[in-house]
């Protein structure tokens, strides 16, 4: 015993101290390397994008004109809001419904586990494949016209679905069973317990998860390429082609004209601000809720 104590009380050799110090520095350096791109992107976004921002930037549509005024990005902003709103209307209720099934009824049954597995599978599918799927099923077959904004929303909804289901499931599981049992003991029917007790308690978490899904959908380009296509003007008509921020940026990226590239930066800054705001609001709601994973 004393021999062990002797050995463990021996002072740390300089070599070991050096390797400890080096390792710490390397790990810190790598961590900084991870942060640098974010800082760089934000810096460039603000540097280049802010110059593009002006009142006409947000209130005029892109004109597509070669000479003269290239226009702003109004149709892109509106298009993104409209299509993502429709996608949320589809994805959030369905996603919460499936999560409710998994937590309240399915639990650990075979069927529920299969569903969970497939939801996991959906999380890994690249967004371009979702877009391709909707392209094959809805656009090529000319269901109600060719390219249309609502088809873009369907593709976005497919993307959002697994995210909503997973986060909702986590939050619903956190609702204490005692709440459910108390309500059931008082004679409330199962459906009332779910709709009046479980859902409201889990609501902040569900909203958080949904907002994060919305933030992700707002930034997606590939699914919209095949479904909503690209158009210059604003419209509220979801049965026609519609512009969107990611597509607008994608179109302006390779251009030779400097002011078009600057418009891309301005649109990118707008998009990042939107996404960051959504993420922030989601985190705020999560912080204030009583349930936290």
């Amino acid at each position: 015993m004393s021999a062990v104590a002797q050995r463990s009380l021996r002072p740390v050799s300089p070599r070991r101290r050096r390797s400890d110090a080096t390792a710490r520095v390397v790990v810190l350096a790598f961590t900084i390397v991870a942060i640098v791109p974010l800082v760089a992107i934000l810096y460039w976004l603000i540097k280049e994008g802010l110059g593009a921002w002006s009142s006409s930037f947000f209130t005029t549509d892109p004109t597509g004109r070669f000479l003269g005024d290239p226009g702003g990005i109004r149709s892109a902003i509106l298009g993104t809001i409209e299509m993502v709103a429709l996608a949320s209307i589809i994805a959030v209720p369905v996603g919460v419904g499936v999560a409710l099934y998994l937590v309240e009824y399915g639990k650990l049954s075979r069927f529920a586990n299969i569903v969970r597995y497939f939801v996991d599978v959906m999380t890994g599918v690249p967004s371009v494949v979702f877009g391709l799927f909707v392209y094959i099923v809805l656009v090529v077959t000319k269901v109600a016209g060719t390219f249309a904004a609502w088809k873009g929303s369907v593709a976005l909804a497919l993307l959002m679905l697994p995210v909503v289901i997973r986060s909702a499931e986590v939050v619903l599981n956190l609702v204490p069973n005692s709440l459910r049992e108390a309500a059931l003991a008082l004679g409330a029917p199962r459906w009332k317990v779910i709709l009046r007790i479980v859902l409201p308690t889990a609501l902040p978490g569900i909203v958080t998860g949904s907002l994060l899904a919305v933030a992700r959908a707002a930034g997606e380009t590939a699914p919209l390429l095949f479904t909503a296509a690209f158009v210059l003007g604003s419209s509220a008509d979801l049965s026609q082609r519609m512009n969107s921020l990611p597509l607008q940026i994608f179109n302006d990226v390779g251009q030779a004209q400097d002011r078009l590239v600057q418009r891309a930066w301005g649109a990118a800054l707008t998009l990042v601000v939107m996404v960051l705001l959504l993420t922030l609001i989601a985190r705020l709601i999560q912080r204030r809720s009583k349930l936290s994973p």
Partner: protein, 333 residues
Amino acid sequence: MEAGSLTPRATVRGGRSIHERSPRSRAIDPLLKWFLSGLAALILVLIAFFFIRLFIEAKPAFDKFGYIGFVFDNSWVPSQQLYGALPLVVGTLITSAIALIIGVPVAIATALYITELAPNRVKAPLTVTVELLAAVPSVVYGLWGIAVLAPKLQPAEQWFSDTFGFLPLVGGQVSIPNYFIAGLILAIMIVPIVSAISREVMSTVPDDHKEAALALGATRWEMIKIAVLPYSRAGISGAAMLGLGRAIGETIAVTIVIGNAADIGNTIFSQGYTLAAVIANEFGEAASDPTHRAALIAAGLVLFVLTLLVNALARYYVNRASRPASVPKGMAG
């Protein structure tokens, strides 16, 4: 009505006791259950439909070129009706490999720093900052990559290519959009997800493992080497696989910075193409050509299958990691 009172004679309309469910209530319960089960089943139906439809649409391409031929033929020339996807597959693999080589060590280091080495006050802000990297849309990564990163790195890449030209895969003229830049951007994009999962796994390392190492006189780094890393190995592998899955499927950022040349480049600084990028670029030109369209969908199917396999592997590793510690109860504490 006092819910807690047990007055046996309290009744509601219809003469039944308040403790009995109303017929309407009784009907809604199974309705809700079946409705929600239906939604859940919808997911299964959707995925199955997804896969089957993709396969049917892709079949003409596979019929024409064979499964092996489509994936391993080295010629993607739509104007001559040739659809061998090898350049695309190779491009996908090269860019993903570069992404893993660069991104995973950085992500692990970040996770290590946050869980083990960072002062407490820095932990939360640092976590949020790394997660913010995930919030940036991929088209913005592409814009920044092609407008800022690629031109700025080109002189350095050219110097590297000239100095180390004897190495395989290095040498020759450096193109501004190339495999390396695409891999670098992908590395940045996968850092948040690999880091988040690694962090989760590392924070489940039992404290007694760590304390035991420290008690035996290990320095902090030695403790990490002895206690944290081996324990988290499975989880980190799973995290890396998930990052790989993400890198394979990334479309827009890659297509902006890779040059979109359907050839296998000679060096990592040549232009290339990936499975995801070809779909985004060529679907417009394939609108009236059934073979071209089938070929693109086949590329999408290959991509889908690849990500399925990688993610399944990832899930296996992560599940293994979240199993309880295999230390026998007698030895701990």
